[in-house]
C-alpha cells in the first residue's frame, strides 16, 4: 500500500482534446474532508480537470494527457490501473440530475450490486443510509418503488448524491451540482455538501463565485487552463494573491 498524504494529488497535469490544449501544467492537492471549489470563467477547463480525476475523460477519443493524478499515492493513469476500482472510490454528481429510469431503490442499489453486494438486508441498509445522508430519506421512505424520474428536480439531485454515496467513496466530485436547480433546492444541497465534508472529501466545480465562498474551505481559480491560485477560501475572499483572481471574484471578468 503506497504511502499518501492526501487522497488526491495532481502533478503537472496537462490535457488536450486533439490539438486543443485545455489544461496547462496543473499541480495541486486536495485536503481530505474539506470542500474545494474549482472556479473560473466558462471554458477555463474546470470540468475537464474534474473529469480527469475519475478518468471520465477517457470516454473522449481525442483526449490526451501528460502528468500524473495520484489517488492514494498511485498514479491513476498508469497502465494496468483498474479504472472501475477508481470510480468506485471517486463518486460523481453531475450538473443535470440524471437518475436512472428505474425505481428509487433500484437507483441506489445499482452501484452496490455492480460491486458484488447481493444480500437483501445489506442492500436495504445501504439504501436507507445513503438516502439519509443525502437528506432525502424522510421524503421518499414510503415510496421507494416509485420511478425516480417522477421526483422533483431538487429531489432528483439529492437522489443522485445518495446514489453516488451508495458505494461509500472517500472522494466526491460535483460538477456544478446545483446550477440547474431552483434557488431553494440549491440552497438545501449547498448545506448538504457542507455537512457531507465530515465524512467525504468533496471537490466541486462552480461558476458561481458566491457559492464557492458559501460552501468551500479551499478554492482553486482556473483561467484559460492554468491554475492561477489555490488557497484557503478565507484568504482569497479577503485578499487574493493574484490580480486575475481578484478581477474574477469581484466580477470584473468572466
Amino acid at each position: 500500500m503506497t504511502e499518501f498524504k492526501h487522497h488526491i494529488e495532481v502533478h503537472n497535469l496537462s490535457t488536450w482534446f486533439g490539438k486543443f490544449a485545455v489544461l496547462k501544467d496543473i499541480s495541486c492537492y486536495f485536503e481530505d474532508n474539506t470542500v474545494t471549489a474549482v472556479m473560473g470563467p466558462s471554458g477555463c477547463g474546470k470540468s475537464t480537470l474534474l473529469r480527469s480525476l475519475n478518468r471520465l475523460n477517457d470516454l473522449v477519443p481525442t483526449f490526451r494527457r501528460e502528468g500524473e493524478v495520484r489517488f492514494r499515492g498511485q498514479d491513476i493513469y498508469e497502465t494496468g490501473y483498474s479504472v472501475y476500482d477508481l470510480r468506485k472510490q471517486i463518486g460523481m454528481v453531475f450538473q443535470r440530475p440524471n437518475p436512472f429510469p428505474m425505481s428509487i431503490r433500484d437507483n441506489i442499489e445499482y452501484g452496490p450490486r455492480l460491486h458484488g453486494i447481493k444480500d437483501d438486508d445489506e442492500l436495504e441498509k445501504i439504501v436507507e443510509t445513503s438516502l439519509k445522508k443525502a437528506a432525502l430519506w424522510d421524503e421518499v421512505k414510503d415510496d421507494l418503488e416509485k420511478p425516480a424520474p417522477n421526483l422533483s428536480g431538487g429531489q432528483q439531485q439529492r437522489l443522485c448524491i445518495a446514489r453516488a454515496l451508495s458505494v461509500d467513496p472517500p472522494v466526491l466530485l460535483a460538477d456544478e451540482p446545483v446550477s440547474a436547480l431552483d434557488p431553494i433546492s440549491a440552497a438545501k444541497i449547498e448545506e448538504l455538501i457542507v455537512e457531507l465534508k465530515k465524512d467525504y472529501t468533496i471537490i466541486m466545480v462552480t461558476h458561481n463565485v458566491q457559492q464557492a465562498f458559501r460552501v468551500s474551505d479551499q478554492a482553486a481559480f482556473l483561467y484559460l487552463g492554468e491554475l492561477i491560485e489555490f488557497d484557503k477560501t478565507e484568504r482569497i475572499l479577503e485578499a487574493p494573491a493574484d490580480e486575475r483572481t481578484e478581477a474574477f471574484i469581484t466580477g470584473r471578468i468572466g
Binding site: 429510469p101 452501484g111 460491486h115 443522485c160
Partner: protein, 304 residues
C-alpha cells in the same frame, strides 16, 4: 336552441366582416378538406373490407367467427384459414427471433462501441438503403440465396429468414435512434459508479431506450406481417401447418398470401373469405400499432 343559432350567426358575421377574416376562414376550410381526403383511405378500406368480410370474422355460421381461425381449409377451400393464421404467427415469431436480436445488438454495437466515422457511416447508409428496397427484391433475394444457393428449399425457414432480412434495416435504425436519444449523462452516471461499458449498456442504456426500441420493433412487425412478395417464392403454401423444418413439410401459408390467392380465384365464396382474412389482418396490424403507440407515449414521460 336559439342560443346556438345566435352564436352561429355571430360566427358567420365575424367571418365575413373583412377580406382578411374571410381568407382566414377559407384557409381553415381548405385544410379541413385536405385532412378528410388524407384520412379517408383508411376508412374506405375498412368499410370495403368489412362490408364483404365482416361475417367471416365476427359471424356465427359454420366456418365463421372463432371457427374462421381454428378450421383448416377443406374441400374446395371451404372452411377457415387456420393454416394462414397460424402460418403468419409462426413466420413472424421466427423472423423476430432471428431479426430482433441481430438488429438490436448490431445497433448497440454501432451506437455504443464505435466512434463516428467511416465504418459507422457506411453501415447507416446501407441500412437506410435496405429499408427502402421493395419487398419483391427481398423475395427474389430470398429465393436465390436461401432457397437455391443454401439449398434450404422453400418453407418456413426460408420464409421467416427473408422476413427477418426485411426487418433488420428498420429495427436497426429505430434502435439506433432510441439509443441515441438516451442522454449521455445517464451513461456517465453509470460509469462514474464503476460500471463497465457492457454493464452500463445493458442495465442503463438499453433499459432507458427500451420503450423506443419496442416501438420500433412492433412497428417493424406490423409492417412485415402484411408482406406478400417476400413469401411468394420462399414460403411455399400449405393447407395445414408446417410439420418439418425443411423439405415439403415445411411449406407454410400466410394471411397476405391467402388474400392474394383467394381474390384471384373465380369462386365467389372465396371473395368473402379473402376479405375476411384482410379484415383480420388489418385488425392484427392495428392492434400492434396501437400497442406501439401507447408504449411510445409512455416514453416521453419517463426519461425526463
Amino acid at each position: 336552441m336559439s342560443g346556438r343559432r345566435e352564436s352561429l350567426i355571430a360566427y358567420l358575421l365575424s367571418v365575413t366582416q373583412s377580406r382578411r377574416h374571410f381568407m382566414d376562414f377559407l384557409f381553415k376550410v381548405f385544410l379541413g378538406v385536405i385532412i378528410l381526403i388524407v384520412v379517408s383511405p383508411f376508412f374506405l378500406i375498412l368499410i370495403q373490407v368489412a362490408s364483404i368480410g365482416f361475417w367471416q370474422v365476427f359471424g356465427s355460421g359454420p366456418g365463421q367467427g372463432i371457427e374462421f381461425f381454428t378450421t383448416f381449409p377443406g374441400v374446395g377451400l371451404e372452411g377457415g384459414i387456420r393454416n394462414a393464421f397460424v402460418g403468419t404467427v409462426e413466420l413472424i415469431v421466427l423472423a423476430s427471433a432471428v431479426g430482433i436480436p441481430l438488429s438490436v445488438f448490431g445497433a448497440v454495437y454501432i451506437t455504443e462501441y464505435t466512434t463516428p466515422g467511416w465504418g459507422r457511416a457506411i453501415v447507416e447508409f446501407a441500412s437506410d438503403v435496405l429499408a427502402g428496397i421493395p419487398s419483391i427484391v427481398f423475395g427474389a433475394f430470398g429465393f436465390a440465396f436461401l432457397v437455391d444457393f443454401l439449398h434450404l428449399g422453400m418453407g418456413i425457414v426460408a420464409g421467416s429468414l427473408t422476413l427477418a432480412f426485411m426487418m433488420i434495416p428498420t429495427v436497426l435504425r429505430t434502435t439506433q435512434e432510441a439509443l441515441r436519444a438516451v442522454p449521455m449523462s445517464l451513461r456517465e452516471a453509470s460509469l462514474a459508479l464503476g460500471a463497465t461499458k457492457w454493464s452500463t449498456t445493458w442495465n442503463v442504456t438499453l433499459r432507458a431506450a427500451f420503450p423506443g426500441l419496442i416501438t420500433g420493433v412492433l412497428l417493424a412487425i406490423g409492417r412485415v406481417m402484411g408482406e406478400t412478395a417476400p413469401l411468394i417464392f420462399t414460403a411455399g403454401n400449405s393447407l395445414s401447418v408446417p410439420t418439418e423444418l425443411t423439405g415439403s413439410g415445411s411449406w407454410v401459408a400466410s394471411m397476405p398470401y391467402t388474400i392474394w390467392a383467394y381474390i384471384s380465384d373465380p369462386r365467389e365464396y372465396l371473395q368473402a373469405k379473402a376479405h375476411g382474412t384482410a379484415l383480420a389482418l388489418m385488425i392484427m396490424v392495428l392492434t400492434v400499432d396501437i400497442i406501439a403507440n401507447i408504449i411510445s407515449r409512455k416514453v416521453t414521460r419517463r426519461l425526463v
